[in-house]
Symmetry: C3
Subunit: 268 residues, 3 copies
């Protein structure tokens, strides 16, 4: 990871060249915006959730993005089926455990997907990710109250326990595979005022994972790209409405060179 910014710029170029198909099984709230984020990035989104279609569809995909934001039991069945097929085909699976910890249904669904498929990157905020951990991780804490060093240590432990790369997003994002830790400082304070920002970030991780085998590099790069676009959009926005629209323009217009110059990584 000696030159993470350069690798990230190169990955953005690859996405625009290869236009990988990203298969999303995601929630109703963000389907439209997520698809537009992926198109603006340069990838090719498809949304498909029918149990009798997901295995065939994922076969064409560069990655599979699962998101439990408006789940029901039958959708979780489709997610597991698609995820198992993806594992068979060595297609990366990215999971967004929206609302894990808030209700039993969501916590159970996220755990089931984690256990029954091979999730490569788990992207959530700290409380969602902690909700999926054993009690030992809870007591170690990755939450805002802790120092950065404590949070990094706890995240590494948690990544090993869950067996997946973690992308814990917040004012500063923390990405770890249990050994390496990267922080990403890009982003903007308007983001929490638009729905689906986290879900979209997860989808962009999906796009980067389709062109990059190292999931720490893929996830950190995606979050820097998405966060930097947010910074650029905020400069043109008068509030969350214009912000969410300018963000699509910023994703589309950002050159690999701008991304390389603007990405703010901290490797620990």
């Amino acid at each position: 990871m000696s030159n993470l910014a350069a690798q990230t710029a190169e990955n953005l170029s690859r996405i625009r060249l290869n236009k990988p198909l990203i298969h999303n099984i995601t929630n109703f709230v963000v389907m439209n915006y997520t698809a537009n984020v992926l198109l603006a990035t340069g990838a090719s989104p498809v949304m498909a959730h029918a149990i009798n279609e997901v295995e065939e569809m994922v076969g064409f995909a560069g990655s599979l993005v699962l998101n439990i934001g408006t789940l029901t039991d039958s959708w979780v069945d489709s997610m597991v089926k698609a995820g198992q097929k993806a594992a068979e085909l060595n297609i990366p699976v990215i999971l967004d455990p929206v609302g894990a910890g808030a209700t039993q249904l969501r916590t159970d669904a996220a755990k089931r997907i984690l256990h029954e498929t091979n999730v490569q990157v788990l992207r959530g905020n700290s409380s969602e990710i902690l909700a999926l951990a054993g009690s030992d991780s809870h007591s170690r804490g990755v939450d805002a109250g802790n120092s950065v060093e404590e949070a990094a240590g706890a995240a590494k432990y948690l990544s090993k326990e869950l067996g997946t790369t973690l992308a814990i997003t917040g004012p500063v994002d923390l990405i770890t595979d249990g050994t390496r830790v990267v922080e990403v400082a890009n982003g903007h304070e308007l983001m929490p005022y638009v729905t689906g920002m986290g879900c979209s970030a997860t989808a962009v991780i999906g796009a980067f994972s389709a062109v990059e085998k190292d999931m720490v590099v893929a996830a950190a790069g995606a979050l820097a790209f998405f966060g930097l676009a947010g910074e650029l959009a905020a400069g043109k926005a008068g509030g969350p409405g214009t912000f969410m629209i300018e963000l699509l323009d910023a994703l589309y217009n950002m050159s690999p060179e701008e991304l390389q110059a603007g990405a703010r990584f901290l490797e620990r």
Copy 2:
């Protein structure tokens, strides 16, 4: 209600301070926009419709917003279940009977929700609300053809019959609990050219009802806030597309003082 504008400004401050969770079981068309309206207002939206999740979710909520815009039978079951739990917990339920009167399924669903849960505010246009009334109310008429005095009288009667506060929206909105009547004159003629404006207004009533016990004050205040944001947005818009985006900015940027100055209430 001697100072409705001041109370409304105070309620907007409370929403931004408390960020109440608004649980929406709503239609596919407006989920994204409604969530963004609630975020721009200062509330915290969640969309959750699974029958095995809604009772747990509504327990965290400041209010429950039910909307039958793209209903199927199983969604109505979830709405009733969530609504009954809300009643148990003294959480206000706001109902938007989209398309009641157009098809039997919608009329029946809205009536079932009204009868089996404890709806605090019913927000619709006059034909939707009339469709839920007995034939006696029909003959009295709240429709555009009648004078304002006749409409106000009929609305009071209808509110008593349906046992809920009514928010009948149109060029001028009429809110009544069967005793008091408030009219709200805010709004803009571009609003009917954007989908989900009525649904979003209902969701904003949900946000105000989470911080205000008097449902006439909550509903009238929410409609003034939403309508005034529409007026401000129209000043920057070149058509319905830019209007719907500027509306989100206007909701986000409006100060309680601006709301107090711009709200146009008429108490009868």
Copy 3:
């Protein structure tokens, strides 16, 4: 078709005068944007998919738009039921076979709708439409690799085979009923970077088909209108985000005279 541009301008005036109800059974990704496109055009959209509602709803409609973008089996059942009722009532049915050819479920669903209902216009890209044809049509080719003359000839053949007017969209759109062929050269290269552009074009064909009996005139006119709005929007846009919003403004603001002057038809 001696004055297609004049007829198209007249049809736009009729849509704005009559505000026909367009019944959509469409995919989750584009529901919101499609509804906004129809409103900006001047039509009245409704989204309704419940099996026990679609027959009643379609009875009020000027046309029925079916779109298989995020289908499951039960949605296809609703589409067929609505389509059969539409045929009974002489209401035009417009089909968008999103992803036909990509998965068996989609190909089968589109074929079933074609065979079990009376589709008046089938709108898709060349690969989607070819996927619905017999092998003979495949060998003739309507794809980008062929000359315009070959593509037009193959499309006429395909239209007769499928028994419906075809609207094959791409950089230049090709509309044929098996006898007449019209090409439409309006559009903009930003369109593929926004999700739901094809789906929205299909919905606009629905709006024009509600006021025009000749499906070649309706489909060609709708695509000219939508494509010209795209050209106008691109002049104000900084990327795909602002483009999709400006497109709604352009649809709303376009006068029949501007449409007549800007439509680029080529009749063969």
